[in-house]
């Protein structure tokens, strides 16, 4: 790079030269537009966060039924705004490490059953009240109440007692749990004054932004909370979230500059959108996966030979190509991939093998078509994926009969009810939580009806195992069990695809979830 260009770049990054002017000078120096644009983006990033400006986000996943009560958050917009207005005890950084937030430090007893969280002093709620350990305790109590409708109830069941000692929160778990702090980073669990017992939907929390306007399903506006303790987050003055559920409308809004950041770019348009000037498409390999699930206790799927036949009869590579357009990776019939800590990458990858499929199918003794229930809401492209599955299975002599279910009511009438259907999982921060949520015999959402005593033992053993090597070995064994005996057919792990324009900077991929694990709005900054 010549000195002149470097000089212009530095001036542009510091905001002393307009973007347009920089692009013009760069072009005069013979640098192509796309190159100049990415040079500038890198320079702006290196310059570090800048305060001020308004971030307008266009998002799918908001409804007029959304509430400010974090316990009821279930879609993408509440997921994002709860991380703006609220703050959890700990958070998880892009590398998968724990980050202190409301809790300053923490420690576990040797048996990993008693956990002590020291609460940071001087944190203020938006109403001026000081945050105490008692508020934290009350928050967790509210979510663990059986009467609560909290999405975090499943997590809280593992906690047997919640106590406060001065500025320390003491949690005791029913069984040893080395992963407890990870679970407390859940987006349902931001700390509320008195735990939100008085007014759960008040929106008063301790996050870097406070509520200004709330029109569910339309628009949410938050303003920076000046008394927030952490200056490393909250760079924009105002965050405006527009609910744009239509994918084409979201892309247009980004291209026309009405919004600076969008979520859920469809894989089939991601390549095209990336070609638009000033737009960056951010694809993040995550833990979410698209699945076909069989009930291991229901005929004909109670026969492991038939389950194996179906697992061999699916063409994973083809699905990643056609359904995800390359924005994803192949699965291995277990819910864990390299995005998880302690993943064992030596477990053999299962591939499409019609001969093996035919062999196991004949051994199972089953004949006749197999019903597969599917709906467009199961995951994006689910119907196409089912048809690909039907084709590849037909080569092995297995006849799949696809039944299209209405999207409305799919999660109550089909998923977790019918023995063979399509579905998706968003993934969890750690392996233990993923397995406890859906593969433990007693799990509420054991959607493959996987009842395996040995697996349950291994899971409990791994939970209390503080030695990482031994733990990894246990997880490897569990993954292999699910892969070879479970009811899960996991053809692919999907990437999160978000996009932003060059008016904002600071994007860091986070495998936890879309929008930098929900942190995009509080961590990015204005680049103009």
């Amino acid at each position: 790079m010549n000195d002149q260009l470097r000089y212009y770049l530095a001036r542009a990054a510091q905001g002393k030269m307009g973007r347009r002017a920089f692009m013009g000078r760069a072009a005069a120096l013979g640098v192509a537009g796309a190159t100049a644009s990415s040079l500038l983006a890198t320079a702006v990033h290196a310059q570090g966060p800048r305060r001020g400006g308004t971030l307008t986000v266009g998002m799918q996943g908001g409804e007029s039924t959304n509430s400010l009560d974090p316990a009821l958050a279930a879609s993408q917009v509440p997921f994002l705004y709860n991380y703006c207005a609220g703050e959890t005890l700990v958070n998880i950084d892009p590398q998968g490490n724990l980050l202190p937030k409301v809790a300053e430090e923490w420690s576990a007893s040797a048996d990993a059953q008693t956990w002590r969280f020291k609460i940071r002093s001087g944190i203020k709620f938006h109403n001026g009240q000081t945050l105490t350990a008692e508020d934290c305790a009350q928050t967790l109590r509210r979510h663990s109440n059986e009467d609560s409708q909290s999405g975090a109830l499943g997590i809280m069941r593992g906690i047997s007692s919640i106590a406060v000692e001065g500025d320390t929160l003491v949690l005791t778990t029913t069984t040893p749990n080395a992963d407890l702090p990870y679970l407390l980073a859940d987006y349902h669990l931001p700390i509320q004054p008195n735990g939100g017992m008085d007014d759960p939907a008040s929106g008063i929390m301790s996050g870097p932004y406070k509520w200004a306007e709330n029109e569910p399903g339309v628009r949410h506006v938050l303003e920076r909370f000046d008394d927030h303790w952490d200056s490393s987050v909250g760079h924009f003055d105002v965050i405006e979230i527009l609910v744009i559920n239509d994918a084409t409308a979201r892309n247009s809004a980004l291209q026309s500059g009405q919004v600076q950041l969008i979520n859920r770019v469809e894989p089939r348009v991601a390549g095209l959108l990336a070609r638009a000037p000033n737009v960056s498409v951010e694809s993040t390999a995550g833990r979410g996966h698209y699945v076909f699930i069989m009930h291991c206790n229901t005929a004909p799927f109670d026969n492991n030979d038939l389950r194996l036949a179906l697992k061999y009869a699916i063409d994973r590579e083809d699905m990643v190509d056609k359904i995800l357009r390359g924005y994803g990776s192949i699965g291995n019939d277990m819910p864990i991939n390299a995005a998880y800590p302690l993943f064992d990458d030596t477990i053999e990858q299962r591939t499409y093998d019609p001969d093996m499929a035919r062999h196991y199918f004949e051994r199972s003794g089953h004949s006749g078509p197999i019903d597969l229930r599917v709906s467009e809401v199961a995951f994006p492209g689910a119907i196409d994926a089912a048809q690909l599955f039907q084709e590849s299975a037909a080569v092995a002599g297995i006849e799949l009969n696809i039944i299209r279910e209405p999207g409305d009511g799919y999660w109550s009438e089909t998923w977790n009810t019918q023995p063979f259907c399509a579905s998706y999982w968003g993934g969890r921060p750690v392996q233990d939580q993923m397995y406890s949520t859906a593969y433990l015999s007693t799990a509420d959402w054991n959607d493959t009806r996987f009842f395996n005593d040995h697996f349950d033992e291994l899971l409990l053993q791994a939970r209390g195992e503080l030695d990482l090597t031994r733990r990894k070995g246990l997880y490897s064994e569990m993954g292999t069990l699910v892969r070879d005996e479970g009811g899960l057919i996991c053809p692919m792990f999907n990437d999160f695809i978000d996009a932003h324009n060059d008016q904002v900077a600071g994007w860091v991929a986070n495998p936890a979830a879309e929008m930098m694990g929900g942190q995009a709005a509080i961590m990015m900054w204005s680049a103009v």
């Binding site: 266009g58 409804e63 007029s64 039924t65 959304n66 509430s67 009821l72 279930a74 059986e146 009467d147 609560s148 409708q149 999405g151 109830l153 499943g154 939907a201 306007e213 029109e215 569910p216 399903g217 339309v218 628009r219 527009l242 609910v243 744009i244 559920n245 239509d246 084409t248 409308a249 247009s252 809004a253 291209q255 026309s256 009405q258 919004v259 209405p406 409305d408 009511g409 999660w411 109550s412 009438e413 998923w415 509420d444 959402w445």
Partner: protein, 318 residues
């Protein structure tokens, strides 16, 4: 009593009866859908315990008939209740959404109704010549395209390429009237294109129908200008069918624009209703249904009355 007054009262009573029937139908419809509000809210995360708690709290465990009559009586007293899904007051939420919907519908109607009638008159004036053909070709093309596609095309041209108007038509109470007009420019344009053809074609057909009459010939023999004959003599006699079509289209502008609302992210009633249907939020669906039914029945009633009043033979029965 004056026969017209009797007629009006009869129509009104009939309208109320229709409304009641509509509310029953809507209620039955929401009852037979699979799943209920508790399942819809908890989604994939529903456990038996959480479902049970939520149903008990919302009173969903009581019989449907009881819930229907309770709702009907409080609705008659102006209390629409609060949404099951997020506890917000329905009347308040609907109020804002309704205002938005009516605003967009009014803007679209203010452009499309005069324009379509004028184009209709013009088409008759230049019947079977190129202006008539051109008007028909353009309006029929725009009505034949699906409205979301029309929306995307217009969005691409006027927002992404030219940058004249915003692609997101979000309006809020902090905006001035002018800002709101600019915000709804694109959806209003699409809606105009969608409803234009129907009203224009009906105006043209209805006027051509009376153009064969003897009194038109008389007017021509008097030496009146052709456009004057159409506007002053033919038009008043073909008002009934035109008004009917105009009212149908106005009703459509209020109750049928959910697709346009989604494409342009406009916070109107349609989107509000769809969100709550998918959450099985019966009180909201009932309230929206009732409002939509009222508008539909009311506008049709108005159309009937106007066509009666525009016809002297009906105004002064022997």
């Amino acid at each position: 009593m004056h026969p017209v007054l009797t007629l009006v009262i009869q129509r009104l009573a009939l309208g109320l009866l229709l409304l009641l029937a509509a509310s029953v139908l809507i209620f039955i419809g929401t009852e037979i859908l699979p799943g209920d509000v508790a399942q819809a809210i908890l989604g994939q995360g529903a456990t038996e315990q959480a479902l049970h708690n939520m149903r008990a709290e919302m009173g969903l465990d009581r019989p449907a008939v009881t819930r229907y009559f309770e709702w009907l009586f409080s609705a008659l007293q102006g209390d629409l209740g609060s949404a099951l899904s997020n506890g917000r007051d329905i009347a308040e939420s609907i109020g804002t959404r309704m205002k938005n919907t009516l605003f967009l519908a009014s803007v679209a109607a203010a452009i499309s109704v005069p324009l379509s009638i004028f184009l209709g008159l013009l088409a008759v004036r230049y019947r079977d010549r190129w202006p008539d053909r051109l008007i028909s070709a353009i309006t029929l093309t725009s009505i034949s395209l699906p409205e979301f596609l029309l929306g995307y095309i217009i969005m691409y041209v006027f927002s992404v390429q030219l940058g004249w108007f915003p692609s997101v038509s979000n309006i809020n109470s902090g905006m001035s009237f002018g800002e709101k007009l600019i915000a709804v420019a694109l959806p209003a344009l699409v809606l105009t294109l969608v409803v234009l053809a129907h009203m224009m074609r009906m105006t043209r057909a209805a006027i051509l129908n009376v153009m064969q009459s003897a009194y038109i010939e008389t007017a021509e023999l008097k030496g009146l200008r052709r456009f004057t004959i159409i506007a002053r003599h033919a038009m008043p006699n073909s008002i009934a069918p035109i008004v009917n079509v105009v009212m149908l289209n106005l009703a459509y502008l209020v109750v049928g624009v959910v697709v346009i609302e989604v494409v342009f992210v406009y916070p109107g009633m349609g989107q509000y209703l769809v969100d709550h249907v998918s959450k099985r939020d019966v009180p909201v669906v009932q309230a929206c249904g009732l409002i939509f039914a009222t508008i539909y029945i009311g506008l049709n009633l108005l159309a009937d009355l106007i066509s009666i009043l525009s016809n002297p033979r009906l105004r002064h029965p022997k």
